[in-house]
């Protein structure tokens, strides 16, 4: 079983997200250990990008801070390789497509494999455009995670049937960020997937409280929490490790 399949093999998966290099690389490293210690089943590391068009203000600001502090994707590969030996949970890079393309898709996939990055989530590379990256990912054993959204409609079946790893279900329209209420769109999406595939479904975008996480774990296989964690990091800066760890433990408890 690869690491990603393993993440969904024992109960509901808790998948936290952090922007790599925010506020600096060293803090991100300590945050990764704290998240792993809190029971994260997979960890998403956001590669900061100049123009993150799928992000809300919280992650966009984190991206700007990280770039301002000199973070590069190469430094994040180095970070992944350093923590890989001690963190058993799969590591996923969430990156916009241009940084991948600029390096070269084959070289990027190979560097993922070499650094112990198990999967890629590329928010501006929809299913129909993924072929040029999929080939290199398959040959390097890196999972290319597909996303579905409430408006994906008839495309859901096709995406569900031919995607690897897990499906990233976008809870609602709009950009990433905390939402007070999550509608029923996510549940309906997961039900649609279930009809055609047994691929695990993790729900993200807007999940920020233990209660919301618990509700989602009631119907999905995993819960992705991003902006709420990034906001704690923004508030506490280098002293964020304790508060992030405690928040992660709360979420983990809520879905266990």
């Amino acid at each position: 079983m690869n690491r990603i399949a393993g993440a969904f093999s024992s109960g509901k998966a808790f998948i936290p997200f952090v922007t790599g290099g925010d506020p600096d690389l060293e803090t991100t490293e300590r945050v990764l250990y704290a998240l792993a210690g809190a029971g994260a089943d997979a960890i998403e590391i956001g590669v900061p990008f100049s123009d993150p068009i799928a992000e809300g203000p919280v992650i966009e600001a984190a991206s700007e801070r990280a770039l301002g502090a000199g973070c590069t994707v190469e430094k994040l590969f180095g970070l992944a390789a350093r923590v890989r030996a001690d963190i058993k949970a799969p590591l996923l890079f969430m990156t916009y497509y241009n940084p991948v393309f600029a390096r070269g898709v084959s070289s990027f996939a190979a560097r993922c494999a070499e650094s112990g990055v198990d999967g890629l989530i590329v928010p501006d590379l929809p299913f129909e455009e993924r072929d040029e990256l999929l080939g290199p990912c398959v040959s390097e054993g890196v999972e290319l995670i597909s996303l579905i959204a409430p408006t994906s409609g008839d495309r859901i079946a096709g995406i569900a049937k031919s995607s690897g790893g897990f499906l990233y279900c976008v809870s609602s329209l709009g950009v990433t960020g905390e939402r007070r209420e999550l509608g029923n769109d996510a549940r309906r999406m997961v039900e649609r997937v279930r009809r055609v595939s047994d691929i695990p479904c993790a729900v993200g975008f807007g999940v920020s409280t233990p209660e919301q996480a618990r509700a989602i774990a009631g119907f999905a296989d995993g819960v992705i929490v991003g902006s709420a964690i990034v906001r704690i990091i923004a508030e506490h800066g280098r002293d964020c490790v304790g508060p992030v760890g405690r928040f992660a433990e709360e979420i983990k408890r809520a879905i266990s």
Binding site: S50, D51, N98, F101, A102, T151
Partner: protein, 394 residues
Amino acid sequence: MEDGRFGIYGGQYVPETLMSAVGRLASSYLRWRGDPEFTRELEELLTRYAGRPSLLYRAGKMSADLGGAKIYLKREDLNHTGSHKINNVLGQALLAQKEGKTRLIAETGAGQHGVATATAAALLGMECEIFMGREDMERQSLNVYRMELLGARVNRVVSGTATLKDAVNAAMREWAGRVEDTHYCLGSVMGPHPFPVMVRDFQSVIGREVRAQMIEAEGRAPDAVIACVGGGSNAIGSFYEFIEDETVELIGCEAAGRGLDTPDNAAAIADGSVGIFHGMKSYFRQDAFGQIAPVYSISAGLDYPGVGPEHASLFDRGRARYAAVTDAEAVEAFEYLTRTEGIIPAIESAHAVAYAMKYAPSLGKEKIVVVTLSGRGDKDVAAIAKYRGVCVNE
């Protein structure tokens, strides 16, 4: 090209939340563009509201002064709202209305596209929100108020470099959250399919008129067509009619800002590389890690890090060539055309004029060059004064 590819360029690189919106837009555009009723209504708006056809003016004094090819100016500056932007906006607004949308959103750099969109929204009774970078709002405060007078709400974009690319980011985010009643009226031949095809089609009226008007005036097609390129909509609109006609030279003018030897330029073809951004594969100014570069031009309308995918393809195929024009050259051309012909061009269009000033004297007197004046320059007068160190009250 119905799949949205121009060679390797174009595509639909957008977040999943936007895929159904761009998919639906592509199919509805394909349906309406062949519809005689739609074509007739748009034609009527263009002639009775926007003032088409625009003049093709023979710039006799300028031609004589430069002493080379005969220069004609395609006067898009004379359109209602003062630029070529209205051609595209009327098409998209009408399409959006046919599709039952009640709200238009748009990005704007110089404010010309924002003003055109706000105008179409007022005319067709639609709600309108414009996204504009903070920097551009300061550079073009009159246009901000103009949009508000037209009933639009102008949203200040403060993220990133607070210019045109950030306004596009903001508009895309807004659309991702509200696709049911909202049409994103993109202002150039960029972004995901179907925008590059659709905007080009709506702008191609420019080149069709040029051909007909040239034949009437000179009995033949021009030898060269010159237009400025930011995203590239007035250029594609001018070129498209002539792409198959290899005897017509096509020249796009990018903004070289403070010079190609400095980072302060916006010349995606001359000083960029292939990348993927804003929904399309094309040329972009970027760093070695694929981060989009902050760009600069005196012209807010050309201050964009990329170029439309069809231009990227025309460049690779060698069918069009692209020249880079600096701020200094553009300002000089702005002043020259104003003094010589009594026509104040938009600072964007002045980039094309500047290149014509260099190129026309190198050609024989029997040659004919058409320069597209994409917009009028009233909006730029204060900025030019500032550039020259003159203080004027706006």
